[in-house]
Amino acid sequence: MLKKPIYFDHAATTPVCEEAFMKMKPYFTDIFGNPNSQHAYGREAVKAVDEARDTIAAIINCKPNELYFTSGGTESDNWALRGAASAFKNKGRHIIISPIEHAAMITTAHVLEKEGYEISFMKVDGEGFVDLEHLKSIIRSDTIFIGCMLANNEVGTIEPIKEIAAIAHERGVVCFADAVQAAGVLKIDVKDLGVDMLSMSSHKIYGPKGVGALYIRNGLLIDSIQTGGHQERMKRGGTTNVPGVVGFAEAFRIAARDLDKNFEYVSMLRDRFIDRVLKEVPFVKLNGPAKENRLPANADFSFRYIEGESILFSLDLAGIAVSSGSACSSGSLEPSHVLLAMGLPEGLAHGSIRFSFGKHNTVEEIDYAVDVLKGAVERLREMSPLFNKKEILKNV
């Protein structure tokens, strides 16, 4: 076993990059002012926050005053959905989201349902792509919000957001994109995408945890969810997390600068991993798209006849950190809602494992992981009452 556990869970979180860490440090101790204060300390903090906003705005091609800092992806998602639902309730109460959204969206939508809103789900195909014709067919005169991920966190599907936004606007509906997994990994130009709102998170792109942002197109007025002081142009109360936004912006700057290089390198690791697993592990299904329109870091598999959490811990014991879409690891009894929406049978949905690679991973780690995985899967199948080797091989 290699000394330090191999980290293949970058879709969960990433380590803070050195550049971001160094840039944040003074803002904890020396430049600690509250950006709301009028004095020199406050002005210094304001300058740092403004610079961070300018940096990120330039990367996603929006105006700095269209960007609002939040506590992360979940808050940004909540704000976009609840803020729009509340602001447009006189126009209608119908909301459309994809069925493979993050819990931050799905759970919030279900809460809104109890408050009198109506939720419809777009259809997705077997690879997780939104069915645009179906989307067109479910928009109504009282639809006020259409929301979809730019890229899915579990299976890596990159959605046709530009087309979704165009369809939404044709019918005069606001369009939101959750770019938590996509920002810093794919080129994002909010004007080109045409979305009205877009959420981002810092800790998925080698920035610190607890900070994110929501882009809100100028002219779109949604309600505030977190009320308080005058921060964020009176739209989001609460003292700005100054070191956080400084680190977020620096991590984003580095991610944008190295985007092509990282995309190519991480895709290479992913492709090597996917190719070897499909070739060397029997009875396995790659979830999500083949390689086109798939996040460069994502490989998600269902292993027949065995359950995801037991694979996760087998790999963990061998020093490999991965994530399981399986219910068991999250504490609920339901298998992944993403895989079920994609039409996978429950048994396969229970047996899924997500590998998400990062810029620090190596080919050696990929190869080691495939070797370990083969053994782990075989061992668990030996234990599984569903796996009857003789019978299965007879039918192949």
Partner: protein, 125 residues
């Protein structure tokens, strides 16, 4: 979330497999809920001489299967019927709350295997 004992048993489970021509066999759970447990027994004069399991499920399901089969080996069937999920959990030094249902499966699988044994005995008689 799991204690060391559970991880240890998961890593090196005992009694994996299926007894050929078992005197009793029981399968509980289903693929939809994500856990299936099969326990097969060799029983002589009402004493469990051997117990084996096959489990589709999480680490806790595998650990409880192993521990439960270890516990009932050498017991009479009446004694084995008194092996509750609480006793299995105790033996493992505790389970996270959301994993309690796995230990329930072990208890149910044992009961089902013994029911099967008794039904077969009755058929012979």
């Amino acid at each position: 979330m799991y204690n060391e004992k559970v991880m240890d048993v998961f890593k090196n489970p005992k009694n994996v497999g299926e007894i050929e021509n078992p005197d009793g066999i029981g399968t509980v759970g289903n693929e939809v809920c994500g856990d299936i447990m099969q326990i097969s027994l060799r029983i002589k004069n009402d004493v469990i001489e051997d117990a084996k399991f096959k489990t589709f499920g999480c680490a806790a399901a595998i650990a409880t299967s192993s521990t439960a089969t270890e516990m009932i080996k050498g017991m009479t069937v009446d004694e084995a019927l008194k092996v509750t999920n609480k006793l299995v959990i105790e033996k493992l030094g505790g389970l996270p709350p959301q994993k309690i249902h796995c230990s329930v499966l072990a208890e149910e699988a044992i009961k089902k295997a013994i029911d099967d044994y008794r039904a077969k005995q009755a058929a012979k008689a």
